[in-house]
């Protein structure tokens, strides 16, 4: 293809400008792809942390208690897609720790759950970093790793828990968990349901039924079935519960895409400028080619191909550099940077659809930037071009 041959010659002849044009696209693609992958990773991390020991569907009363919760569980159990149902009693309390350095106290959330069910449904054991879960040992609690740090506690220590009803109970730290979600790890105390019921003086009731699904993203689909099974109780999905957080994450991602896309738009504009200059410098050559019988379409194709070569090479190099950076991140080379953000590593998640979208969008920007100078070159008459000084 002669147009490709001529386009390549033009590009190699103007190496400096070509490299600048390609660099623009390379930087734009790299910034956008890497940021998007990290943003996806962080969002995913955040959602996974939030969902770690939270219900995917929450069945509650909106403040009142569920008396016959066992019956409700029976009604729910036939629904397909449910991994488990955990009856829970949630309350507030003050935790007092007696350490070598003095007495410390902290306001905490008390989550009393059927630990046998929670082990299966929530994989509770996978979050334990010390100790074990004993569903029928009623004087032991599980506390978060951050709380351990704050209060200077260790496994086996005794703490005093005062409930909202001002009932005090001395409990042993039976396990330490880390979910990755700082609110849980710093302020949540997990205990057997019965212990929570006793300290709250409520009898055999639950404040909610936490439903864990095989796939959390089926929550909206299964909501109706759950609602039919529990009739008068309120049903909320994890999306409803965390709607503010999800909206914030979506907004943050949109703003980031818009801002970083500007780099690609500017890079596309640079290609347009380089081609425009090329057309001006090559005006006489265009006249010569036209005198040889090259058509307007031939001329237009030459400059569009030039734009696409510059843009395409920038995209390929940009993708290579993005994947190299992301691989280094995955290897944990920059994990030291994450400590202040309560992360063990920089989470990275590449979406193939987003990558394809970035490539198509960049090519479109490059194509649009190339069309104008290419058209300008092609509309010159042979005589105009030959007489150009």
């Amino acid at each position: 293809m002669i147009e490709l041959f001529i386009a390549k010659k033009h590009i190699f002849e103007r190496k400096k400008q070509s490299i600048i044009a390609m660099l623009g696209i390379l930087i734009g693609i790299t910034v956008l792809t890497v940021s998007l992958a990290i943003s996806n990773g962080l969002n995913n991390n955040m959602i996974n942390s939030v969902l770690s020991i939270s219900p995917h569907i929450l069945v509650g009363t909106g403040g009142n208690r569920i008396d016959a919760y066992a019956e409700k569980i029976n009604n729910l159990e036939g629904i397909e897609g449910l991994k488990g149902i955990v009856p829970k009693y949630t309350s507030q309390g003050i935790l007092k720790a007696y350490t070598d350095f003095g007495v410390y106290q902290l306001g905490v959330q008390i989550d009393g759950m059927d630990l046998e069910r929670a082990k299966k449904a929530m994989n509770l054991e996978s979050y334990l970093i010390a100790g074990e879960i004993k569903p029928t040992t009623y004087n032991e609690v599980l506390i978060g790793s951050e709380m351990v740090e704050q209060l200077g506690l260790k496994l086996g220590d005794t703490v005093e828990l005062t409930s909202a009803e001002n009932k005090k109970m001395r409990l042993k730290v039976g396990g330490i968990f880390r979910t990755g979600f700082i609110s849980y790890d710093s302020a949540l105390v997990i205990m057997p349901l019965k212990t929570a019921q006793i300290i709250s003086e409520v009898g055999d009731v639950a404040s909610s039924l936490d439903i864990i699904l095989n796939n959390p993203y089926d929550a909206n689909i299964l909501r109706a079935q759950v609602r039919r099974a529990v009739k008068d109780l309120r049903v909320q999905t994890w999306g409803d519960i965390n709607s503010n957080l999800l909206r914030a994450l979506a907004l943050e991602k949109t703003v980031m895409i818009v801002l970083f896309s500007l780099i690609i738009v500017i890079a596309g504009f640079v290609i347009g400028v380089v081609l425009n200059t090329m057309v001006r410098e090559k005006t006489k050559d265009i006249g010569i080619l036209r005198s040889m019988g090259y058509s307007r379409n031939n001329i237009m194709r030459i400059f569009i191909i030039e734009g696409l070569i510059l843009g395409g090479t920038g995209i390929i190099l940009g993708m290579l550099s993005s994947f190299s950076i992301l691989s280094l991140l995955k290897l944990g080379l920059f994990d030291k940077l994450t400590e202040i953000y309560y992360l063990t590593s920089i989470p990275v998640r590449i979406s193939s659809i987003e990558v394809i979208f970035i490539i198509i969008a960049t090519l479109s920007v490059v194509l649009v930037s190339s069309i104008f100078p290419a058209y300008r070159g092609s509309k010159l008459t042979p005589v105009e071009a030959l007489k150009y000084e």
Binding site: I2, K9, L289, M292, G293, S295, P382
Partner: protein, 227 residues
């Protein structure tokens, strides 16, 4: 001899402020195959405009241009591009070689417009043409590495790559010294005599005109036999 080109009542005028400048005014010409014609005239007499019209690089205001029996005056642009590629070869005053291509590539360029062209065959022909202008050892040289005369010889080889019916030359030696011009004159005469190539040369050089078989003078937009 076959009539290869005919110009009938060709008119080209430009508007300059309120004046209507008739550069070519009802010009008539018949060219036969194998002709070697010099078009002479003063600077500004319209010689280049005449050649641009002939070469379908510019459009006349009225009149007809008949090439090889086909009236090309009102053909769509794409057709004109094709005809220009197949039937005409151009040599300009300044070599107009593309700077980033080698001599061989420059010669091949007009033939590569055809998508189905056999590149190997074109290359062989381009090499033969470079040899015919005694530049076989300069194939890989870029224009910046060639002398003025060499560049013009490459331009002649390029103009001949598609075996055009007519070779149009616009002051081909206008930018060369006497000795180098002599070489170009010889080449043009040789391709006319040996290959029967029809050549129309626009020039103000009497030396070049003396090599041609026929001289015509462009005066007041018309061609005349006498000075």
């Amino acid at each position: 001899m076959n009539k290869i080109l005919e110009l009938v009542n060709l008119i080209k005028h430009y508007k300059d402020k309120n004046k209507d400048l008739k550069i070519i005014n009802e010009l008539n010409l018949e060219v036969e195959e194998g002709d070697f014609i010099a078009i002479l005239g003063k600077s500004g007499s319209g010689k280049s405009t005449f050649l641009h019209l002939l070469g379908m690089l510019d459009e006349a205001n009225s009149g007809n241009i008949i090439i090889n029996g086909k009236d090309v005056s009102f053909l769509p642009e794409k057709e004109r591009d094709k005809l220009r590629n197949k039937f005409l070869g151009f040599v300009f005053q300044f070599h107009y070689l593309l700077p980033e291509f080698t001599a061989l590539e420059n010669v091949m360029l007009p033939a590569l417009v055809d998508k189905n062209a056999d590149i190997e065959k074109i290359k062989i022909k381009a090499k033969e043409l470079l040899k015919s202008v005694e530049l076989e050892d300069r194939e890989t040289h870029k224009p910046s590495e060639l002398s003025g005369g060499e560049k013009q010889r490459v331009a002649i080889a390029r103009a001949l790559i598609n075996s055009p019916k007519i070779l149009l030359a616009d002051e081909p030696t206008g930018n060369l010294d006497e000795e180098t011009s002599e070489v170009i004159h010889k080449i043009l005469r040789k391709i006319n005599e040996e290959k029967g190539q029809t050549i129309i040369v626009v020039t103000h050089s009497q030396e070049l005109a003396s090599v041609c078989k026929k001289k015509l003078y462009l005066k007041k937009g018309k061609l005349e036999d006498k000075r």
